[in-house]
């Protein structure tokens, strides 16, 4: 067998499929090497896409023509918008997936892309020539040549599963692991580290007493991610909420030492934001109970995912403990929970285009960079795919900055801080949070989609119209007035007036577009019945002042981002720069002064010296 590709993607997880898809759509011949071709974009853990901060990523991925949004819209079983009581900047969509259907959808989607070939194999060795990637050797000994490689190996790179004292070499229970690839990276000189994550047992839904649990229905209207999703006969499935009991606490606490997390069997760092149940009882000892969400894994299955009960306790203890949870007294476990350790490459080793500094043409995306989560992986896969193509075309890399996108925040965090614990997004990581929202993902991303030809012309045009209609709507909100007697409590704030404009009303603290909607019935049909237009208009009005302020901050920020530092810049010659700073700069190789200033441990003085040096030697430093 002898193959040749423009781009080789190793690993068909969430990162891998986005990378393959986008590079194929940008006209490159993509080869997707993965262990099991039927498991593309399989959800290893929670059957859900989105959530706070992560959903922003999904919207951005979608606006850049990625597949995650489409796949989940087509196969979701429950759609919700979180944080609605808070402001639009942090509204977040979370969708419960039909795990198998999602996986099938992606398998078919990839099959239909004529530029992608899926190769079922285990990638074992990276081949390089003069510091550039030139091919991949599978563990069977097949050689595949290429000009770029994107590694999206997820939790499989050196994957080791722990269930109680039992250890299994695998990235997911019942699957294989990639050990040779780790060795190959090590041989090339990459620094490898180890991280850990975990998953709860899966339950047989027929053995659960849902009457004892709280019902959590989906939202209507259904908040799809994409703007053209239509599923007329779709009925949402509910989730349930239940709680652990004092008995649960007693059992888990008694068996702390049987968990590999405490016994010393696992030393690697796990996600602090997603602790195992033993971790929760251990660290928050004064908390009597913990909530669990019971989430269906799909329509055609009775399997239930107990969100919040991640564990690596021995199977029989998992069994005993979970039966003490309200409603789960008779529950049967279908698959045990477990912890998994895997290799990653601390991200100081990649550039902001996700290409490694060590080997040109080699890109990393997803877990290998220290992140965790499907959305984080998919986002990086997409960015790596685009950048691999740009690399082949010898074009400037595509880098989003922190003020433009959560994609930018994430990659900047990775490349300037080089995470040492599993990284996930939160909205609080984004200092320009008010400016980068779910609702304006297209406003922010479409110009790039246009540049790289990632989204249909028709969609782009439809969006232009939406933007125009939004301004009309804003005009209407400004010009239409409402009598204060219709405004209830809020109306009392305007003692001296008979009526106020809808704009003024919206600007009142505590008033949201959701308060406005019922009032619009009083006006004779001028207002758009497109809820999205109304929301966009309302956000525009309500946050005008803040966004303006934020924009000023962004302008300052951009100035620093635009002060670029040449890639091969030599820091050793800068007199006056502390050795420690020289080392840090050399290790991270920031692309701009802005990035330089965000590197951990770098002081203002260091950046100042660097800045002066760059200014002074502007003419002699080749960019």
């Amino acid at each position: 067998m002898n193959y040749d590709f423009d781009v080789i993607i190793i690993g068909g997880g969430h990162a891998g499929v986005e990378a393959a898809d986008v590079s194929a759509r940008m006209g490159k011949k993509a080869g997707l090497i993965t262990m099991d071709a039927s498991k593309l974009a399989l959800m290893s853990c929670n059957p859900a896409i989105g959530g706070i901060g992560k959903s922003h990523l999904v919207k951005e991925i979608d606006a850049l023509g990625g597949l995650m949004g489409k796949a989940i819209d087509a196969t979701g079983i429950q759609f919700r918008r979180l944080n609605l009581s808070r402001g639009p900047a942090v509204w977040s969509t979370r969708v419960q997936a039909d795990r198998i259907k999602y996986n099938d959808y992606v398998v078919n989607y990839i099959k239909e892309q004529h530029n992608i070939e899926v190769i079922e194999a285990l990638a074992g060795k990276l081949l390089t020539e003069n510091g550039s990637i030139c091919g991949v050797l599978t563990e069977n000994g097949d050689k595949i040549t290429c000009r770029t490689v994107i590694i999206c190996s997820g939790t499989f790179l050196g994957g080791l599963i722990h269930i109680g004292p039992t250890k299994i070499k695998a990235g997911r229970l019942g699957e294989n692991a990639a050990y040779k690839l780790s060795d190959s990276l090590d041989e090339l000189g990459f620094e490898l580290g180890r991280l850990k994550t975990g998953t709860p047992p899966r339950l047989n839904g027929d053995t659960i007493d849902f009457d004892k649990c709280e019902l959590q229905p989906g939202d209507t209207p259904i908040p799809y991610y994409t703007n053209d999703c239509n599923r007329p006969d779709f009925k949402q499935m509910p989730c349930y909420l239940t709680y652990t009991t004092a008995e649960t606490k007693a059992i888990v606490s008694k068996h702390f030492n049987d968990s590999p997390i405490f016994s010393g069997q696992i030393n690697s760092t796990g996600p602090r934001y997603c602790p195992s149940i033993e971790d929760k009882f251990y660290r928050f000892a004064d908390k009597e109970r913990h909530q669990l969400f019971l989430e269906p894994e799909g329509n055609g299955t009775n399997e239930i995912y107990p969100n919040g009960f991640s564990t690596a306790l021995p199977e029989e203890i998992q069994h005993k403990a979970i039966r003490t949870v309200e409603g789960l007294e008779k529950v049967e476990i279908t698959k045990p929970g477990y912890a998994v350790e895997y290799d990653y490459c601390p991200a100081y080793q990649i550039k902001p285009n996700l290409e490694t500094k060590r080997v040109s043409g080699l890109f990393f995306a997803g877990q290998i960079n220290g992140t965790s989560g499907y959305e984080e992986a998919a986002g990086q896969g997409l960015m790596a795919g685009i950048n691999a193509v740009l690399y082949l075309e010898k074009e400037k890399p595509f880098i989003l900055d922190r003020s433009e996108a959560y994609l930018g925040v994430m990659i900047d965090d990775l490349t300037t801080r080089s995470t040492t614990e599993p990284y996930r997004l939160f909205t609080s990581r984004a200092e320009y949070r008010l400016a980068i929202r779910e609702d304006n993902a297209r406003d922010r991303m479409y110009r790039y989609a246009r540049r790289f030809n990632l989204v249909d012309e028709a969609k782009l045009d439809a969006f232009d119209k939406l933007v125009a209609d939004t301004s009309t709507e804003i005009g209407l909100l400004k010009s239409n007035r409402i009598h204060i007697s219709q405004l209830g409590e809020v109306g009392e704030r305007f003692k001296r007036k008979d009526s106020i404009s809808l704009e003024e009303y919206l600007k009142q603290p505590g008033v949201t577009v959701h308060d406005l909607i019922p009032l619009l019935g009083n006006f004779n049909g001028d207002f758009s019945d497109n809820r999205e237009i109304l929301e966009r208009a309302a956000i525009d009005i309500k946050y005008a002042g803040y966004i303006e302020k934020q924009q000023r901050e962004i302008n300052k920020f951009k100035k620093m981002e635009n002060e670029s530092i040449p890639e091969q810049f030599d820091y050793t010659d800068i007199t006056g720069l502390k050795n420690e700073a020289k080392e840090k700069f050399t290790r991270f190789r920031p692309i701009s002064l802005g990035q330089a200033s965000r590197i951990e441990g770098i002081t203002p003085g260091d950046v100042a010296v660097l800045s002066i040096y760059l200014k002074k030697h502007k003419d002699t430093i080749t960019k």
């Binding site: 706070i52 901060g53 979180l82 944080n83 009581s85 808070r86 402001g87 900047a89 942090v90 913990h290 909530q291 969400f293 939160f426 909205t427 609080s428 200092e431 949070r433 008010l434 603290p509 505590g510 949201t512 803040y546 302020k549 934020q550 000023r552 302008n555 300052k556 920020f557 100035k559 620093m560 800068i574 007199t575 006056g576 720069l577 002064l593 802005g594 200033s597 770098i602 002081t603 203002p604 003085g605 950046v607 100042a608 010296v609 800045s611 002066i612 040096y613 002074k616």
Partner: protein, 456 residues
């Protein structure tokens, strides 16, 4: 032409504190000219602001009250020291007048320049040349070390520690709010509203204390200001010369000798003291004298201590004192009965805050010095007891932070959605960080030049 290096318009006093009869302010930035136009009233209507032409007129506040007579010059963008649109204003010295002018300009939208910011702009505009990067690095780490500075350094340790503590408190509140955003489904016990608000109030209280400390702290930085006032011929200039130990001011038997004020620096008990001789106050007098009296009044108003001189050899002086002092709104007045050598009999027991002196025989002068020294010590904050703000720039940052924290507090109280108070608190954090320099945001160069003095 908009200047992209500077988005705000900045202002600072560019003459050193207290020296000379004239002080200068510089405004730079895109609104420099429009701010000047708002506050400058040319003496002759047809002589308004024109590039590079020095103009004479009045600086007026928002309600068109004249603050001072000024000379001013405007330089368009690209053609000034800073490369930005720039205005310079020359007014009568006297910190209070200058500060009033500066405050008015800030009120019209400018912000206080960071230390060294003009220099930084000049550098960026290619107007000055920084020869060596190394020398800059040295500047960054350089420390001055006069004994006064040492005391300040000592203070600074406690100071930045204190700000660090405020910062922690602020971050605590912020974290509380952020958690409720990023974990809406988790069962984080949201601190109840009451507790949150009381945390806010505690923090605000501390910041307000700090701001208050600036009242005394300013004196550490700018010196203690003593103004000598009184009727013409009371002996003000004589006393001024006596305290300076040099014949600095003209002394003649003629009333109305001093027409414009004089300002000098002396050292009392190791403190910088700014001493000012003013024109004598009386109803009569020509235009020039009247102008002199006007500035005298504003100086007397703003002084940390007024020495009110009375010639007890003149008739009816007792009665005059009360009416004269009614005009002077200052709580720190010390009455000095001068020329006791002339008076046949010493006055019947004077009031408590009165000292009997003779500039001729120097009787009572040492008692006067002791009294001044006591008053300074009472005003200067106890440097060992608490944390004191001495810099106007810091005070402005605290005010800004306070404003943002208050806004956040009110929003929490009104149950506004939490990302808005979070935004305000992050802004407040930035203000604090700009004092300690902990977080490096964007103004790289600003930090370098922070070791330069403002306006250099």
């Amino acid at each position: 032409m908009k200047n992209i290096l500077l988005e705000d318009t900045i202002v600072a006093i560019i003459t050193p504190p207290g020296e000379g009869g004239i002080a200068a302010l510089r405004i730079a930035g895109n609104d420099a000219r429009s701010i000047l136009s708002k506050h400058f009233k040319p003496q002759q209507k047809n002589r308004g602001v024109k590039p590079f032409l020095m103009r004479f007129g009045f600086f007026v506040d928002d309600s068109k009250n004249v603050i001072d007579e000024i000379m001013t010059v405007y330089m368009p963008a690209g053609k000034s020291y800073t490369g930005c649109e720039q205005v310079e204003i020359f007014c009568h010295g006297g910190r209070q007048v200058v500060r009033l002018i500066q405050d008015t300009i800030i009120g019209s939208g400018a912000r206080m320049a960071e230390p060294g910011e003009f220099t930084k702009l000049a550098f960026l505009a290619g107007k000055i040349d920084l020869t060596k990067a190394e020398s800059v690095a040295e500047i960054i780490s350089a420390n001055t070390s006069s004994s006064f500075e040492t005391a300040r350094e000592h203070l600074l340790g406690a100071y930045s520690e204190h700000i660090g503590m405020l910062r922690e408190q602020l971050i605590d509140i912020l974290a509380e709010i952020e958690a409720s955003i990023d974990y809406p489904e988790e069962e984080i016990d949201p601190k109840d509203q009451e507790k949150l608000i009381s945390d806010f109030d505690d923090l605000l209280g501390k910041i307000s204390e700090l701001k208050k400390s600036y009242k005394g702290g300013r004196i550490i930085n700018e010196g203690f200001k003593i103004a000598i006032g009184g009727r013409p011929n009371a002996g003000k200039s004589s006393l001024f010369n006596l305290l300076l130990r040099q014949q600095r001011a003209l002394v003649t038997p003629k009333a109305g000798t001093t027409r414009d004020y004089l300002s000098e620096w002396i050292d009392i008990d190791g403190f910088k003291v700014n001493i000012i001789d003013t024109a004598g106050l009386r109803k009569a007098g020509g235009t020039i004298e009247k102008e002199g009296q006007k500035s005298a009044k504003s100086i007397l108003k703003s002084a940390d201590l007024v020495l009110w001189l009375v010639d007890i050899s003149s008739k009816g002086y007792k009665k005059q004192i009360e009416t004269d002092l009614q005009d002077i709104t200052n709580n720190h007045i010390l009455k000095l009965y001068n020329k006791i050598d002339k008076s046949a009999s010493s006055p019947e027991h004077p009031d408590t805050d009165t000292i009997l002196i003779s500039c001729k025989t120097e009787k009572g002068i040492s008692q006067l010095k002791k009294e001044i020294s006591a008053r300074i010590n009472a005003t200067i904050p106890d440097l060992t007891a608490g944390v004191v703000v001495t810099s106007a720039r810091h005070k402005q940052k605290f005010s800004n932070a306070e404003k943002m924290i208050k806004a956040a507090r009110d929003k929490c109280l009104e149950k506004e959605s939490p990302e808005l108070p979070a935004f305000d608190l992050r802004e407040a954090l930035k203000e604090l960080d700009e004092i300690t320099g902990k977080v490096y945001n964007e103004d790289i160069l600003g930090r370098i030049f922070a070791k330069f003095c403002i306006g250099k």
